[in-house]
């Protein structure tokens, strides 16, 4: 029990410190890397809570694909360095205010609604939301939405190619003398 709580505490500190690191870092690449670390430590928390599928999805989708895309964009744009202080006036004050409100809400929920007793939380069955069940649901009940999604992605790929490829169609349309 104690080791479990100790492990959770370490992970919690890691999650919070990496998110703070992401926020205060003035270099966008560092921020992105902090966010990767943050996603990875949240994934570890998911594993300890008995949700391996969500943990794997977190690692592959968020920490993997999306953050790599982020890094690519940051480096391609050459926007690593943020200049000076934030330019939106009152942003810090407003953000701090929102954070205090959120913290108050969470405390209220934790103390008054659930009474701070872990017994109030019922653990779902051990195979709940496991890879097997998600797979079965996805390919039985949600087969059609799954297939339609794949077509949407295909269309998006075709669109990206058409709208970025310039060699073919553009040259024939733009004729000299026309602007």
């Amino acid at each position: 029990m104690i080791t479990g709580i100790l492990f959770f505490d370490v992970m919690a500190v890691l999650v919070i410190s990496t998110s703070i690191g992401m926020l205060v870092s003035r270099n966008a690449v560092y921020s992105a890397l902090f966010l990767v670390l943050n996603f990875a430590s949240v994934a570890v928390l998911y594993v300890t809570l008995g949700a391996p599928f969500i943990a794997m999805a977190q690692v592959t989708v968020y920490a993997g694909a999306i953050m790599i895309l982020f890094l690519f964009v940051i480096m391609l744009l050459g926007a690593e360095r943020l200049e000076g202080e934030s330019t939106i006036r009152g942003q810090r004050l407003f953000g701090g205010l929102l954070a205090v409100i959120l913290l108050g809400e969470l405390t209220w929920m934790a103390v008054f609604q659930s009474g701070l007793s872990p017994a109030a939380l019922t653990m779902p069955a051990s195979d709940f939301a496991g890879p097997t069940q998600i797979g079965l649901t996805l390919f039985n009940t949600y087969l059609l939405p799954f297939e339609v999604t794949s077509f949407i992605l295909l269309v998006a790929i075709i669109g990206a190619i058409i709208l970025t490829k310039t060699d073919n169609i553009g040259k024939r349309i733009i004729r000299p003398g026309k602007d």
Binding site: N140, T141, Y142, L143, L144, P145, V148, T149, F151, I152, L154, V155, A156, I158, G159, I162, L163, T166, N168, I169, G170, R172, I173, I174, K178
Partner: protein
């Protein structure tokens, strides 16, 4: 467990999607100079899919664990979408060649979009509503920008994409509220939850409102119309024609089904909102259209007004008897509107030179004398838009107004009649240019646009002699809905 039966019930969609994939592949081996093969192939796919849809006509059932239902409503609309697709292929055939934009992807994307529309008409789960909306919208965003790097086309695509993404997000947000209220996304589950009194009424109402906004963007009613004129003007004309008809019909399909099935209890509140949307669209669309000298923009504003007319019949949807009548008159009007709108667009595409942003009204001068067939098609389309007897437009408006009167929406009917009178001014002005002003319009090479125009005009005229059977057919088809 999905079985072959599930696939058979959505056979038209399956055929169309597989056909689109095949065309995407085959198109690689078709040289740039012979892209008309792709057009012919895609037309064949549409015809085969329409054949499947005809074969399924009258059948009912649900497939894929209630994700989609097959009923008369979805069958009729599927056939309408497929025929619109055929018209869009025919209109594009010469038009793309003229604009040196012959790319096979045009047809593939068109087919994907039509499949999305067909799924949307038969969606029985909010997840399917959202996904089919995306499947129909994303190809249209791309097709709107098909004439890249022309600035107008890029602008059309970007505006449509941004506002479309925005409206999709709102729709999705509404779905989340409904899920939060009822714990279900499938229609039977939501209905059971509402009937069982387990649903949170306020959350449901917010969800319904957000869904209405999302659909409002797709059907382009005031005040969600901002993208309509620029997108219709900048897109390739064949896509503009397709969007005015098919996208609107798909939006209405989802709107009608979702509101009839899920929110009959919210009708008293929703009726007020629908009333406002309908009245504002009719007034705004018809008055702003007066100021338009560009045919594409004029047709765009006319499409906003027409969306208002269709919504009019749907205002008293809380009454089950009126609701049945409203859906049949909406289907009837969509058919009439499809013929009329394609007729008008086809005449314009037949005359539209390469690299134009749409003809000005003056460009129609002398059309009636030089090309009597095309002039007649334009005349019939315009009369049908106004709602003059001996056209389908007349009967379409007749049934819509009748439904609204039956639902005791007299003020709305009066607005509809008055705005129809106003619309006569700008529709007849086009006819005036075509028949009473001297001019030398030049038909562009290729005859497919003219063929579409004449077929649509003939349809408007001939079907207007048998409106009752057509209306009865629509009424009979939607009997099994729900």
């Amino acid at each position: 467990m999905p079985t072959v039966n599930d696939f058979l019930l959505i056979l038209p969609e399956v055929v169309l999607l597989i056909w689109a994939l095949l065309i995407l592949l085959i198109d690689l081996w078709i040289p740039d100079t012979k892209k008309y093969y792709t057009a012919v192939l895609s037309a064949a796919g549409l015809v085969i899919s329409a054949g499947c849809a005809f074969a399924l006509l009258g059948r009912t059932g649900s497939a894929f664990s209630n994700m989609v239902v097959l009923d008369g409503f979805s069958s009729v609309l599927s056939i309408l979408f497929l025929l619109s697709g055929l018209a869009a292929v025919a209109l594009a055939y010469d038009y793309l060649k003229r604009n040196a934009a012959q790319r096979g992807e045009y047809y593939t994307l068109l087919l994907f979009s039509i499949a999305g529309m067909m799924l949307m008409a038969s969606a029985n789960d909010l997840i399917m509503v959202f996904l089919s909306l995306e499947l129909l919208s994303i190809p249209l965003y791309i097709l709107a920008g098909f004439f890249r790097p022309r600035l107008a086309s890029e602008e059309a695509a970007l505006k449509y994409f941004l506002l479309g993404a925005f409206s999709s997000a709102i729709l999705l947000f509404g779905i989340a509220w409904i899920y939060g209220s009822t714990g279900h996304t499938d229609f039977p589950g939501i209905v059971a939850s509402i009937d069982g009194g387990r649903a949170n009424y306020l959350l449901l109402l917010i969800g319904a409102g957000l869904l209405l906004v999302g659909f409002g963007f797709k059907i382009g009613v005031f005040p969600f119309h901002m993208w309509v004129p620029d997108t219709y003007q900048g897109s390739p004309s064949s896509i503009g024609a397709f969007m005015t008809v098919a996208t609107k019909a798909a939006g209405f399909a989802a709107l009608l089904r979702v509101f009839l099935v899920l929110f009959p209890a919210e009708a008293p509140i929703m009726a007020g909102i629908l009333w406002g949307l309908s009245a504002a669209s009719m007034i705004f669309g018809n008055t702003v259209a007066i100021a338009q000298m560009n045919m594409k923009r004029l047709l765009a504003y006319s499409s906003i007004a027409n969306a208002g007319y269709i919504l009019m019949a749907f205002v008293p949807y809380g009454n089950p008897v009126i609701a049945q009548e409203a859906v049949s008159s909406a289907l009837f009007y969509l058919l009439a509107y499809a013929l009329t709108s394609f007729g008008a667009w086809a005449v314009m595409i037949a005359l539209e030179p390469a690299e134009s942003d749409g003809l000005l009204l003056q460009d129609f001068s002398g059309l009636g004398r030089k090309y009597p067939w095309l002039g007649a098609a334009l005349l019939i389309s315009m009369l049908s838009f106004i709602g003059v007897p001996l056209t389908m437009g007349f009967w379409g408006k007749f049934y819509l107004f009748k439904t609204a009167v039956d639902g005791s929406q007299i003020p709305l009917v009066l607005i509809g009649l008055l705005t129809s009178l106003v619309s006569a001014y700008y529709y007849l002005r086009i006819v005036m240019f075509a028949y009473f002003k001297p001019g030398e319009p030049q038909i562009q090479p290729g005859r497919w646009a003219s063929v579409v125009a004449v077929i649509c005009a003939a349809g408007i005229f001939v079907l207007s002699f048998i409106p009752t059977p057509v209306f009865q057919f629509a009424a009979q088809m939607i009997m099994g809905m729900k």
